[in-house]
């Protein structure tokens, strides 16, 4: 194995799990996440010189995010007529938030509540929460990945937490009322 490949494996590949998790939460689909992570890793390898000893995790996740945005734009352009079955099946893995109570009751058994609520958050809220709470990145790293000023990261994080908390309270209180 050549030296460049070796350095790439040491500095970047340890963050493949994080890249995959982030891609899953961004795309909310395992197929799309596969494509995004594969494309992102290859792009990272091609432009490995740009990393220059900086934060490998934040760098890889930035590329994941860019790949996701590009792919999402392409899908949007292509799928003016979406294929509902295929898409819904995919989305059902992580998305919920449909108001139909029966569907909700079924999904509640299948998916852990908070995970479902997180998946239903707006993308810009979801991603900062995932980066902070699940990937345990600090504000600086989140700002680097999302290409936002730190102040915006802070306010988005606060709004995301408030939104999740509100939904969580609605959900749990709803269950309590149901028991009475």
């Amino acid at each position: 194995m050549d030296d460049r490949r070796g350095r790439f494996e040491a500095q970047v590949l340890p963050h493949l799990d994080a890249a995959y998790r982030y891609a899953r939460w961004l795309t909310r689909s395992s197929n799309d996440a596969d494509d995004v992570v594969q494309e992102a890793t290859l792009r990272a390898y091609r432009s490995f010189e740009d990393l220059r000893g900086a934060d490998g995790k934040a760098w890889l996740l930035t590329i994941v995010r860019n790949c996701h945005l590009t792919a999402a734009r392409q899908r949007q352009r292509r799928n003016l007529m979406p294929l509902p079955e295929a898409d819904d099946e995919q989305a059902g893995e992580l998305i919920a938030g449909t108001p139909d109570p029966q569907t909700l009751a079924i999904q509640r058994d299948e998916l852990r509540t908070l995970q479902r609520l997180l998946a239903a958050l707006h993308e810009e809220h979801r991603e900062v929460l995932v980066l902070r709470e699940i990937e345990e990145m600090d504000y600086r790293q989140i700002a680097a990945v999302t290409n936002l000023p730190i102040g915006t990261v802070m306010s988005r994080l606060a709004r995301a937490r408030a939104a999740l908390r509100t939904r969580w309270l609605q959900e749990t209180q709803g269950e309590c009322n149901g028991l009475r």
Partner: protein, 256 residues
Amino acid sequence: MGCAESLQLQAYFDGEVDPAAAGAIERHLETCVECRALLQDLHALRTLLREQAVPIGIPADLRGRIMASLDEESRTAVAPRGRPSAPLRRSRPFWIGVISGVGGGALAAALALLVLAPMLKGSLVTSLVADHTRSLMSSHLIDVVSTDQHTVKPWFAGRVELSPAVADFAPQGYRLLGGRVDEVQHSNAAVVVYQHGKHVINVFSWVIGRGGLPQDVTRNGYHLAFWQDGNLAYCAVSDTGWPELHELVGLLQGIK
């Protein structure tokens, strides 16, 4: 409790405040029921998220596919005629052959300048963007905090071998925050820091070297505006829009 306080509490919860500020927040928590409740909620949500969000790792088959694509990529990169997208800089630069064949020192120097000058400019942009982001991310944004040009300008004397243009443009919307010393291409640079709205603008200045300055450029979402005054090179870096950045450049160029 105001919004600003809840942001502060959140920063405390996330471990993003310095010890002094943490002490102040802890004292406030002793008396404020509302903030204590908010902090508890933050803890509860974090615990739930970390427990409930599936700790998925990358599936083994996907990892295998990725490794295979890297193998493929490595092979094409080493091969003399790789695909256009493969990194080409691993192969021997063509001009080495040209130079060794001709053996002309002058030609070598001329070619080296042609080849190196754009590379130097590229690395200049990269290092300025890195300096700018690092300054935003660390507490090393400002060494001397002052909105008074008569404090900031003398502060640079004795620290750097140059005296940059400094003025407070608060009336025009560009507040002087202070200055710091940074490094640009291995020499000391004076950095004057301005605030425009929510944006920070770093104005780098250094004694100009050989090779000239790059054109204005956008890199990683940051705009970089370059100009020269005598033997001093200037670069203003920010995530503001171009018009806002150029307005400050105009103001700085107007200082006499």
